[in-house]
């Protein structure tokens, strides 16, 4: 049981990193980013190449930075000019981007799935709560939680964080008060993409790499963001952990029903409490 709970926690933390980026972007740009899964998949492959040529530690630094730059470019030369469009247009645009990125990855890295071994320092297993558990997954849990705590602290305490929260709750009023909302948006889209990058690298040795991995996790990420409350970071964080745990518990208790869990959770949540766990508060 402890092992199952840790598994749930590991998957929950991966969703946590991925969905906090999605929630931030939705909060600030109002964009339901369908390309988030594709960015995550791209990051996993970049991380794969960086690991084979350099090392896993280098990949852990390079990939999020590369994705963050990509995100900033995307915002500066794409989303900014389309911010007045209907949200549906943005959904379709990011849908299109997903196709392009998927094709790119299939061309460069091929269509077959790949796997990545964790570095020697993280291979093997450790003993926690009286059970042996893979070291790498513990590392994933630690890194993910650390990054998210840092993110919340930064949003709460820094000046840029204040600007981001202000732009997110009311873009126009924030602009009137002298906040550079475009800069805040660029930072957030960069940050969100960087988080997708981090999730991609972390997922490499944990799940297997395939061009479909983005689509598979995207729906789960959406569920997390919706259940948490659209655009709310804190809500998404709680929802990610709840979903991870619910998956783990269901797979032990009711294995045949476990596949229903995420969808049923979203259905019940939307019908009973459409605003999600946290409403629309950013952090």
């Amino acid at each position: 049981m402890a092992v199952q709970l840790l598994n749930g926690l590991a998957f929950g933390v991966l969703l946590l990193v991925l969905s906090s980026g999605l929630a931030l972007i939705f909060g600030l740009r109002g964009v339901v980013n369908f390309a988030h899964g594709a960015l995550y998949m791209l990051a996993a492959y970049i991380g794969f190449s960086a690991t084979t040529h350099l090392s896993f530690w280098a990949a852990l630094v390079i990939t999020p930075l590369a994705l963050a730059s990509l995100g900033i470019v995307l915002d500066r030369y794409g989303l900014r000019f389309l911010s007045h469009r209907a949200p549906l247009d943005m959904v379709l645009l990011t849908f299109g981007l997903t196709f392009v990125i998927t094709d790119l990855v299939e061309t460069v890295w091929g269509e077959q799935s790949r796997s990545l071994d964790p570095t020697a320092a993280l291979a093997g297993s450790m003993s926690v709560f009286g059970v042996r558990y893979p070291t790498y997954r513990l590392f994933l849990i630690a890194v993910g939680l650390l990054v998210c705590v840092a993110l919340v602290v930064w949003l709460r305490l820094s000046r840029t964080g204040l600007y981001i929260r202000a732009s997110s709750s009311d873009r126009r009023v924030a602009a009137v008060f002298g906040v550079d909302v475009d800069r805040a948006s660029a930072i957030v889209v960069g940050l969100g993409s960087g988080l997708a990058g981090l999730a991609g690298v972390l997922a490499g040795p944990y799940l297997s790499l395939s061009p479909n991995m983005g689509v598979e996790i995207l729906i789960q990420t959406f569920i997390v963001v919706v259940v948490g409350g659209l655009g709310s970071l804190g809500g998404a964080m709680i929802a990610a952990l709840v979903l991870g745990m619910a998956n783990a518990i269901a797979s032990v208790g009711f294995p045949s029903l476990s596949a229903y869990v995420p969808y049923a959770l979203m259905l019940v949540m939307l019908l009973l409490r459409p605003q999600g766990f946290a409403g629309t508060r950013t952090a």
């Binding site: 094709d103 299939e106 729906i219």
Partner: protein, 365 residues
């Protein structure tokens, strides 16, 4: 006046993300142009559209004499996808609601028809009829649950319901054939011809074409009816429509059910013309792809989504050898959204309007 203005402001502040005005609306008001004039111009316009529809309907029947077997097979696929795209696009245009769950009605109808034909010995026509009824019935249930929620939440609710059904199908191989899919053996006649022969595109084409054109005509008439206008009013401002004394919930439910019925029809055509169903038909990306082709074709017109579907199937087939169709499709989608919001239909409409003005035939509008 002041009250009116404040009302407008609050309504706009509450939902800043409204869908753009549909191109079906009358053009910008001019001095001297009454509502009656606008309606008359609209009706004159309608006559042209109806004529175009009739020509297309007749021309369609010539397809088997023009196209070889493989392109005709693709065209049949295109009509199936076109029906689904049309159902989703129409719902989006009339109610502003984006459904990711229409694959469920499509898939349920296909599976129900397949299982009835395989296990009960019903005639193909009865199996198809019951299948469509089951698909539409599912749409009724989903509609009652979901239509109250607006915006992204509606998309996510329909997605959740569709995916629950997909999971169920994946775990119930006795019904769905598991991930290998389900082959269907039709025995007996369907509308006077052996149903099993519908797998040949030459036999299947007239059926698929009639289904598409009939669906198109139905949705077109509905958009122009009083019911269609009421739906537009609800989309633009639900609260104000309620204040005007109209009940919004039954109208939305009916719109969703009609759209679901069209998706069910698409499922029926699909299972009849391929004799095969797989769980992929229930997956959310079936709805997602239909939505994409609907937008590329243009949801402002009922002809847009089927045209988009045909173009997509043709593109996919012509690029399948190079395996780069994804990048082309993605690029096309991005370009359409950025450059031509409203899709191909909007481009055609704009060209036609300019042409008409150039010829002096469009004096009023």
């Amino acid at each position: 006046m002041t009250v009116n203005e404040t009302n407008q402001h609050t309504a706009e502040a509450r939902e800043p993300a409204r869908t753009p005005e549909p191109p079906t609306q009358a053009p910008s008001p001019r001095p001297g142009l009454t509502v009656r004039d606008a309606l008359r111009a609209e009706r004159r316009n309608d006559r042209w559209v109806a004529a175009a529809w009739a020509v297309m309907m007749l021309a369609g029947f010539a397809m088997p004499y023009v196209l070889a077997a493989y392109p005709l097979q693709l065209a049949v696929q295109g009509t199936t996808m076109g029906l689904l795209a049309m159902s989703i696009g129409w719902l989006m245009r009339q109610t502003g609601r984006m459904s990711f769950g229409h694959a469920a009605f499509y898939g349920i109808t296909a599976y129900a028809t397949a299982n009835l034909a395989n296990h009960t010995g019903l005639s193909p026509l009865a199996a198809v009829g019951l299948g469509v009824l089951m698909g539409a019935g599912a749409a009724v249930v989903v509609a009652l649950l979901t239509v109250r929620t607006p915006g992204i939440s509606f998309a996510m609710l329909t997605l959740a319901i569709g995916m629950l059904i997909w999971v169920w199908a994946g775990q119930t191989p006795s019904v769905s054939g598991g991930f290998n899919g389900l082959n269907v053996t039709f025995e007996g006649d369907f509308l006077g011809r052996p149903a099993a022969k519908l797998i040949n595109p030459v036999n299947a084409w007239p059926l698929a074409w009639i289904a598409l054109m009939a669906g198109m005509a139905l949705l077109w008439c509905l958009s122009r009816s009083r019911f269609g206008r009421r739906l537009t009013a609800i989309r633009e401002n639900k609260e104000r429509t309620t204040f005007s004394g109209h009940r919004t919930y039954p109208a939305l439910v009916l719109a969703f059910v009609l759209s679901g019925l069209m998706a069910a029809l698409a499922g029926a055509v699909s299972v009849l013309t391929t004799s095969f169903v797989s769980t992929d038909s229930l997956y959310w990306s079936t709805s997602g792809m239909a939505l994409i082709v609907a937008v590329i074709g243009g949801i402002g017109s009922v002809m847009g989504p089927p045209a988009g579907a045909m173009a997509f199937i043709a593109l996919q087939a012509s690029l399948s050898a190079s395996s780069h169709y994804q990048v082309v499709l993605g690029a096309v989608l991005i370009i359409v959204v950025v450059i031509a919001p409203g899709g191909a239909a909007e481009l055609v409409k704009r060209t036609a309007r300019t042409g008409a003005r150039y010829l002096g035939a469009d004096r009023h509008a």
